[in-house]
């Protein structure tokens, strides 16, 4: 990386390569495209919403890896639970 890149705070090319690879490998390994992940998310919300009210805006779903194995991780806040924490404030 040359002086100008450093001066203007441009990201090192090796760092871009690593970040891009991290994303690409998740999709290569799981056969899950971002679009499929979105539709999986919608299905999850629909199913869970039949039982409890969820905070759709705050929910997060993604694939994490531990060594070479992949894990689907969903963090789904429930609406009623959030209201309670607000009251106690």
């Amino acid at each position: 990386m040359g002086f100008f890149e450093k001066f203007f705070g441009k990201k090192a090319s090796a760092d871009s390569a690593k970040e891009r690879l991290q994303l690409v490998l998740i999709h290569d390994r799981t056969d899950l495209t971002p679009a499929e992940l979105d539709s999986l998310r919608d299905d999850l919300v629909a199913t869970i919403s039949r039982h409890v009210e969820v905070d759709v805006k705050a929910m997060q779903i993604g694939v994490e890896h531990d060594g070479r194995s992949q894990r689907l991780v969903a963090d789904i806040p429930l609406k009623s639970a959030r209201r309670k924490t607000r009251k106690t404030k």
């Binding site: 990386m1 090319s13 090796a14 390569a17 991290q22 390994r29 890896h65 070479r68």
Partner: protein, 265 residues
């Protein structure tokens, strides 16, 4: 003890599979092992020229499989390393001339006559690759610190796991320490973090590799070169020795350091 059969593969072409096979063969022979290399790249024969044995070919692997010669007749013996043999690829045939079962049978016959069988795999994940891994006890995946090579290595590692040929070990070839330092090349830590498999060797980018292939005498024969040392260390690790990784940063003498300080390297 029966031989260990090791296949060297990569997914992507041009990352250094053939170079690795030739150098590990020489390095293992220097350690006193009996080695047979098989060029599995049918139709794109290359291991013969890298080892400097191209003028001695009479029979090839397809001749053995189709029964035109005995196995021993297709094994070319190296003149410098008398316990090193090459079974060349057929040049005018294609991959369909060989099946995975043929490879398993061939390798079985070789197990009793040497200590190591090294198989040079073609690029890709198709038939030639499948043939090359069919008889393997162990697989080494070669990659470069470069985005497409790492991605392809990951695919191959996944396939090897699915085929129960894993866990594979990684050889990171053509690492350029100066580029890693300036953060313009993935480091060995980055690559290991991404691929999450065992590392068995790091081979630096080294012009001696090209000079050696011009001459048909692999760099591992010369213990003074960085790449040669790296390949010798991998050979030792294959034999079960624990060898520390080369310090690639402490590279060169005063002149190189001056050049680097002046920003020329």
């Amino acid at each position: 003890m029966p031989a260990t059969v090791i296949t060297i593969t990569s997914g992507k072409g041009g990352v250094g599979k053939t170079t690795t096979v030739a150098n590990l063969a020489v390095a293992l022979a220097l350690e006193g092992s009996r080695v047979v290399c098989i060029d599995g790249d049918i139709g794109l024969r290359n291991l013969d020229v890298i080892l400097g044995l191209e003028n001695r070919i009479v029979y090839d692997i397809v001749d053995v499989i189709e029964g035109r010669c005995r196995l021993k007749q297709a094994m070319i013996r190296d003149k410098k390393f008398t316990e090193l043999y090459l079974i060349p690829a057929a040049q005018t045939r294609d991959k369909s001339a060989i099946s995975a079962n043929d490879m398993v049978r061939l390798v079985k016959e070789l197990r009793s006559v040497c200590d190591f069988v090294l198989i040079d795999s073609p690029a890709g994940i198709e038939r030639g690759f499948r043939n090359a891994i069919a008889g393997a006890d162990r697989v080494l995946v070669v990659t470069n610190p470069e985005i497409s090579a790492v991605r392809d290595a990951d695919r191959v590692i996944g396939i090897l796991e699915a085929e129960e040929k894993g866990p594979a070990s990684l050889i990171l070839n053509r690492l350029n320490p100066a580029l890693v330092k300036s953060k313009d090349m993935l480091s060995s830590e980055d690559v290991l973090d991404l691929l999450a498999i065992e590392l068995i060797g790091i081979v630096p980018e080294d012009e001696n590799v090209i000079i050696a292939s011009n001459r048909g005498a692999p760099v591992a024969a010369d213990g003074k070169t960085k790449a040669g040392q790296a390949f010798r260390n991998i050979a030792k690790r294959l034999k079960g020795e624990t060898v520390p990784f080369l310090d690639l940063d402490a590279q060169g003498g005063l002149w190189e350091r001056i050049q680097r300080m002046a920003g020329r390297k």
